[in-house]
């Protein structure tokens, strides 16, 4: 459901959803819980990648592991060179683990990160799984 909130026409929405900066995009799940927030301008492809990351986050937070894994995989597939890709790789692995309880994927992630996104903060977060 796309909802438009312009600061002059709908200032009450800024207060209601704690939006303090523009442009901002917030994604709520169907229950109205905030699941993702993006503040500040981004170029088109990075913006799209972040939006898709947000939809994956909605699925993840609703414990819909299979959909989350599929959505994170789609971000990696469509935007492999974006800033969203390392996030997607990390959470795709976690989603798979959550769905299957098979920790093999977590053990594989540090090597994949070293190869593809060694400078990412997410690479450091996988070191514990080495």
């Amino acid at each position: 459901m796309p909802l438009e909130a312009h600061i002059k026409e709908h200032p009450v929405y800024f207060h209601r959803f704690d939006a303090l900066w523009t442009p901002s995009v917030i994604i709520l799940d169907w229950k109205g819980n905030e699941r993702f927030r993006m503040e500040g301008y981004l170029p088109k492809d990075e913006f799209r990648a972040q939006l898709e990351l947000g939809l994956a986050r909605v699925a993840f937070m609703n414990k819909n592991w299979a959909e989350a894994e599929r959505r994170y995989a789609a971000v990696l597939d469509r935007y492999p060179d974006s800033k969203a890709a390392p996030d997607a790789l990390y959470w795709k692995g976690v989603s798979h683990y959550k769905a299957t309880n098979d920790h093999t994927i977590l053990g594989e992630l540090p090597g994949i990160f070293q190869e593809k996104y060694p400078d990412s903060i997410w690479a450091q977060k996988t070191i514990a799984w080495t």
Binding site: M1, P2, L3, E4, A5, H6, I7, K8, E9, H10, Y13, F14, R16, F17, A19, W21, T22, P23, S24, V25, I26, I27, L28, D29, W30, K31, G32, R35, L51, G54, L55, V58
Partner: protein, 32 residues
């Protein structure tokens, strides 16, 4: 495909709940 933006927050939230779909809110200060 053109996006049909709503400006009715309560309506969008109610529709999202009914259809079990997420809500995307675009906060803007751009000139119309």
């Amino acid at each position: 495909m053109k996006v049909q933006w709503s400006t009715d927050a309560d309506g969008a939230l109610a529709e999202a709940k009914e259809q079990k779909k997420p809500v995307l809110i675009d906060f803007s200060a751009a000139p119309a």
